[in-house]
Subunit: 494 residues, 2 copies
Amino acid sequence: MSAAYERYLEHMQGLHALGSALSLLGWDQETMMPPAAVAHRADVRSHLSGLVHDGTVDPAFGDLLAELQESPLDDDQAANVRETVRDRDRSVKVPRELVTELSRVTSLAQQAWVDARTNDDWDRFGPLLAQVVDLRRREAEAVGYEGEPYDALLDAYEPGARAADLAPLFDELRPALAELTREIGERQAPDARAALQGRWDPAAQERLSRRILADMGFDFQAGRLDTSAHPFTGGSHPTDVRLTTAYDPADPAKSLYSTIHEGGHGLYEQGLPAAHAGTPLGEACGLGIHESQSRLWENQVGRSRAFMEYLLPLLREEFPEQAKRLDGDALFAALNVVEPSLIRIDADEVTYNLHIALRFELERDLFRGDIDVEDLPHLWRVRMTEDLGVSPLGDSDGALQDIHWSFGALGYFPTYTLGNLYGATLFAAAGKELGDLDGRIARGEFAPLLDWMRANVHAHGRRWSGDELCRRAAGRGLNTDDFLNHLRAKFGVR
Amino acid sequence: MSAAYERYLEHMQGLHALGSALSLLGWDQETMMPPAAVAHRADVRSHLSGLVHDGTVDPAFGDLLAELQESPLDDDQAANVRETVRDRDRSVKVPRELVTELSRVTSLAQQAWVDARTNDDWDRFGPLLAQVVDLRRREAEAVGYEGEPYDALLDAYEPGARAADLAPLFDELRPALAELTREIGERQAPDARAALQGRWDPAAQERLSRRILADMGFDFQAGRLDTSAHPFTGGSHPTDVRLTTAYDPADPAKSLYSTIHEGGHGLYEQGLPAAHAGTPLGEACGLGIHESQSRLWENQVGRSRAFMEYLLPLLREEFPEQAKRLDGDALFAALNVVEPSLIRIDADEVTYNLHIALRFELERDLFRGDIDVEDLPHLWRVRMTEDLGVSPLGDSDGALQDIHWSFGALGYFPTYTLGNLYGATLFAAAGKELGDLDGRIARGEFAPLLDWMRANVHAHGRRWSGDELCRRAAGRGLNTDDFLNHLRAKFGVR
């Protein structure tokens, strides 16, 4: 290894140490921190974020990277340097005052969003969102783009993603999903969810969550499960991955699928190559592939008919009373009701992407300047009625429902659909190669599927784009066929 | 405020942010961290510690402090600058390679200590301890001292403390405590502890711990209580103070007094002036005064006869079966058995300081070069037999019992006795001023005592030395009379 590359690794380890501390500070804030500490915590996070920024844009580091780009490097080293240059270029282009101002405005916007949503009062949030959009538009101009401004935002979450490439995907999905929703709706039992009525002891839900995670292959020696208001996956290293879930005594499906979803993210994080920790080769490929891992465990595995065979004995153990009235078919039906609804996070596997399509198009149009922030509540209602056939009563069930915009995450939503598509393609390829996935899932033998993902997805870090990774792993890149075929097969449509 | 002082505050806030992150990383490691993360965590802590060191010894910061020392400052500013210069001088004097080497050796020594104690095998630990002692002797030479090398170590934990001042205190305490132990031993019931036999549900112990902390005035909006192998108080700000305890189903006294002890530390941390957070005026005065707060709540309050009146109804609520056989006198007797024993952390209020005297003298003699590390196991046995009349069977119950030396904390033990002495003096002064402390304690009215400590101790941070703080608060400084009088009155001796 050259002395220059050693200096690069040392610098990256320093940035990673700060990033790891920031990650712990963030996890702790959502799970453990005493409420009165919020102001102090903001100061600490802000200072450490500043150190990361300074260390990233440091001109000496830029010189070192330029030197490395001209040096002989092996494949791993070249990939790391390429991706680090990519990240650094973005950081360098965004003026520090823009970063600071965005941080300030989103702090206010997050509080305003809570108030606005609680009081169903768009006007408390709209003006701040307008500022956020304006700042992120300036960021897009600073970063630059080939197609349109929105691309610069998409790229922050899914490297290389462009609105012009995403639009055709959504155009294919929208009518197909609407038709599937209609057809499934006609044939499903009207009261399937009633099978899950009653009280489900949170302590038993927690034992069930831990049991399923362990069976999936989540390593509790290198991770934790806790609770938080909004489930998420945190952590800073393959040896320290932290999941959260939430237990609702009235709805066992909520913790069940939060746990499996975050478990999928967690398996990815635990499977990233520890030897590359702190460099791009030790990082997730992008949010699309990250979401593919959570969604395939949640939906392709966890909501499959086969999974019910695995799940039912566990439910009988933890909830003997409630499980009496359940069999595999009833459980499958209860956990797979497909119907248009107002809230994205409660949406089923089929209609979910209609919610994303709506958000993608509104965001893109905002950044094109075709619509204004103040139009969002009205346009949301119109689009919900057109695309899903349901109309929000207020904005709390409409344009105010998601937390994302309040912290500036515009361009983020499309990665959820990318995750669903990549997940379906990767799962289909794994199934073809491994054979009898249904049988394995029914028996709770998840190791072969995890091993396949470890070898074909997790091990590669950020070496390739999501599309390239998927192509190498599954023999084809991003597409809607595998996802739609999965839904058709699962629900027996056409 | 001058521009220079503003720059000083900004620099201190940056160091405090890093210190706060380090504090969370440390707390998390003892309470929450998955075991596999230990190596990554060591890297993160080491990097952040390096940044704190670099920021402290930064020559530009030195110039700024020198400029401030020549500038007109108000009292608060002058105290902060004086103490910061004091801290920085020490950091500057210790060569970085010595810091790094000490960190490396103590990492090894901590693991070796665990093995050595588990296997009662001094030889696994002794050679590493010899290295630790050698490194800390070099540190003492680098830092400098007026009296003897050991003073430079004492000063790191208790600013200004000197062996020559501590020795007479221990010389006063040793015979007096030995005599007290003998006299109390003669009159106490032989089987007082039997009243606490049985199984004590850990969940009920936890509810009791939380109830007592809340009654003491600990603010759970600005703090937490968790469990760890060795109870401690962590946290980084008056709004974020984290206590730990440990629940032993066979011994309710263990969690009870760990909780109250750490609660005393926690009340001090929550009472430090938040406006000065990040500067010396927002920090604890020293370990002696810190320990005074934990020990006075643990012993003067929590082990008093009056406290039993408060405690008994709580025990009846949480442990109705076991509490049946208890009354106030039996409870007091069970929680106040005085007898020489081998293990410091299990020692009673009277014999505890004999354990400290032994450690003080052995450490001092080590740094004088009068004894060698390899002599410690033998000398320990001799001194235990002479001073306490009990002899350890192996070194696990002798010179290997404490964790402190393994992480290099030589010069730390004496602060425990300072805490006992300061605690007795402060408690006596508060009692004189407030009146009827016994009645208040019996009724669970702890607020007046806490308010007195807030106003007379907590509010002042590091403005004065421990002795000066005590003198201003209690009308007299460090002394053995108040402590010995407290014991005599409590146990009805002479």
